[in-house]
Each structure stands twice: as structure tokens, then as C-alpha cells.
Amino acid sequence: MTAAAWIGGLLLVGAFCGGLAVAATPAPSTSAAAPAPSAASEPPRVTLHWKTREQGMTYGYLVYRSERRAGPFVRRNDAIVRVPDDGVNVHEYVWVDEAVTAGVTYFYYVDAVSTGGVKERLSGVIEKRVSPATRAPEPTPSPPGGER
């Protein structure tokens, strides 16, 4: 059972009709994906956008990340990205990964988790290199699991 379907965007996979887009800072774009452009003082981050059409059985979404395309991918979001209970079946989601290092390339994908608790791959793998162009502030130690 497919609990949700992509709508629009990049990196389409399988039967999904949508995709996952990322933006990253430093080097912010005008995309809504990026935070306000104050790169010199902003820590690096990766922002994921996705848009889905839920089919009534989706509880939420899980974001996975790896530093290698082949994995292993490890879950990044501690709290499940919830599907709004608003009676609407098309939603856009934004999730920000703040535990990233400038100059490092990351790979992401998204799972849907059904109301029955079963996980299902929703997106393909998307790659993002966090630009080293602007030096990020000294990193502060992240707790295990980063910003989860």
C-alpha cells in the first residue's frame, strides 16, 4: 500500500508523482527553502521540501541521511513530521537539518509512515553538498542524533 504520493518537484521515483527538493546555506538562494540570507553569521543547514498527496493512511514522514549514497542512512528527525489533520489531502512540508558541516556532501531520502506504523520509502535519494564557500561559525557539539 502506498500511503502517500509525491507531487511536483525534483528527483521523481517510481510511482510517485512528486519529488524532494533541497536548499542549503551558506550560499542561500531565493528559494523558500533557504533561511534569511545572512550567511556570514548563519550556521550551515540543509532544508528539505516535499509535497505529497496523502491518501488517508499516512501518519507522517521520516527523514534519513547518509554521507554516502549507498548508505547507511540513519533517521534524522526525532519527532515524526506529522500530516496535518485538516481534511486537506495535499500538503507541503519543510524540514531543516541544522546538524551539517560546511563542505560535506549529504544524501537524504524520506519515508512515509502509515497510521498502522509501517514505514515505506517515499522518495529517491537526493544529494546536497553544503557549500564551503562561507566559513561557518565554530560548531557547537551536537547531542547524539544531532538536532533531532
Binding site: Y59, S66, A70, P72, F73, V74, T115, G116, G117, V118
Partner: protein, 347 residues
Amino acid sequence: MLLPAAPPARAAAQDAPAAEPGSAGIECSPRTASFEAYQHETAVVRFTCTNRGARAARITKVEPRGAGAWATGAPRALAVGESATFEVHQPLANALGATSYRVGISTDEPNQPIVRVSLAGFVQSAYEPERGGLDLGWVDAAVGKEITFELVSREVERVEVTGVEGLPTFISLAAAGRAGEADQGVRLLARMAPGAPLGSFAATAKISTNVPRQPRYDLTLIGNVFGDVVPSVNPLALGIVRLGQPAQGAVELRSRSARAVEVKGTDLTGSEQLAVIVGACASPGPDCARLQLVGRPAAIGGAQGKLTVKLAGGATVPLDWSMWVVAADTHIKTIDVLPTPAPSPPR
């Protein structure tokens, strides 16, 4: 080894609906407390009850209805306008997905003997498959059996098994390599040793791992162990039976070595209304015996038990049976689905 204690689940209280004017004296909120947790955690939520009546009242009992749940804070007397908070602890065990549990708060208010509240939340698994089940199928007692199971968690880079508990001595379960993408998971080898007790079995392996948020995973193993004499089915399901109507089911016992199968006696547990009739198989021969369970059940509900068949020579064949008895006028829906063939016993 001891399993690490499950951490309490995070809980968040939803806003309760506004109190109804003129409603009974004790109001509890939230009506539904929400939580999000992992399997084997304990959801902990709080309910606050306020005496909005005109006289003192008493919370006599807070009774969570979920399995293994308990509450703190009661009994408690409440003066007019006074509030008290009760904490409900609900072990989640192997629940999965959206789930809810009821809680009854008893009072000494004659018009409001019980206030009903609930916990509603989402239980996630840190593993795939989210629920563990492994069917060993038919197992020759003289040979034993081995079967593998792949356990993956994408909550860590590499799952490691640190312990297994809960299995009978004739079944072992151990890591036997890597599994999954990028070797993130672990391949487990379940091994049933030769000489296991005959009959059906079900056991749950409590697997300890290095996954911080859910360091325990339950894997249920089932199967049927047979000797020389093999039953055609086990368990013997008599299906749904209407009260007052006959229940019946049959099983054939056949010797794999073509020895004579002579039934010397049977021992049936679980029902006073069922009897065992011994007869010839559809393909008659001395190496086969047919047993029929027949009777008219006298009570509505599920019933199950054991049928132990004693053979000449001292061997026994343990079988399980079950049925579900409904009222005579119950409408039984027939669902149009493809039949799932049961695995055939070995010949």
C-alpha cells in the same frame, strides 16, 4: 541478561473541550491525552480533575483499562474548587501505529460515578519489519531446522544484537551476518535442535540491541514439530459455529515410514461438548488414522484446547484445536478473498 528499562514516552496533553455549563461536579482534562512513543516504552500522561460542584467530592479510583497500566494519585478528596492531578502509566509493549486506551475515573458523586478519559497516540517501531514473526513451518523432530530472519533498524548505522531471551532450550537465535542496505541490519539464524517436543509451538524471543530509542525487539517464532506420524493439519480449526449447530473437524495421522497407525486413546481438553471419533482415512490403509472432532457447543465465544492422540507403541501426537461459537442468529459475512493455502505437512 536483563533488558534495559524502557524510558517513558513523551506525552503531550491536548486541550480538553470546554466544560459544559451545568455539567456534573467533577471535570477532568484533557479528555484525551496524546503521546508519541516507541514500542516497549511506557506512555505517561496526566489528567487533572477539578471539583466544580457545590459540595466536597472524592475520586475513589483511577482505573486505566489498557493491559499492564497503572495510575497514581487516587483516591483523593476534593474540596469545592480544588483540583488534583493523576498520572497514568501505560506500557505499550508491541502496540504499533495509532492506538488508544481508556481510563475510568470513579467518583463518589451519585450523578457522576465515573468520568471517562483516554490516551490516544502513535506507537512506532525502530525496526523493519516493524513487527517480528518467523514461521518455521513443519519441523522434523529428528532433523531440526534452521531459518534466517533479517532485522534492520535505520535508527543506527549498524544494528548489533546484544542478547536474546525468552526462547525454550530447543530453539536458539543468534546473529549470523549482516543484512540490509549497506549492511545496516543483522541476519539472525533461528535453529531448532533435533529432539524438540512434538506438536505446535510459539515462543517470543526478546532481542536486545544497540538501538537507543528501542533497545528491545520481539520476534515471535511458531512452527509444528512432527515425528514419524504426521498430522494433516495442526491446529485443527473448527471455524465459526452457530450455537446449537454441530461443530466438526477432522485430521488424518499418517506414518511417514508406512508403519501401522493404531490409535489407543485420546485426551481432549478445552470443551465438554466435543468428542473424538476415530476412523479410516480418505485413502485407507494401516499407516493412517482419521480423527474427527464433533459436538454441539453450549456457550458463545472462543474455545480452544489440546487433543493428544496416544498411539500403539507409546508414541503420542499432540494437536491443538480451536473454534469460535456465535449466537444462532448471528449473520456471518463471507469475505470474497483468495484463499491462503496452509503449508502442507511433509509426507
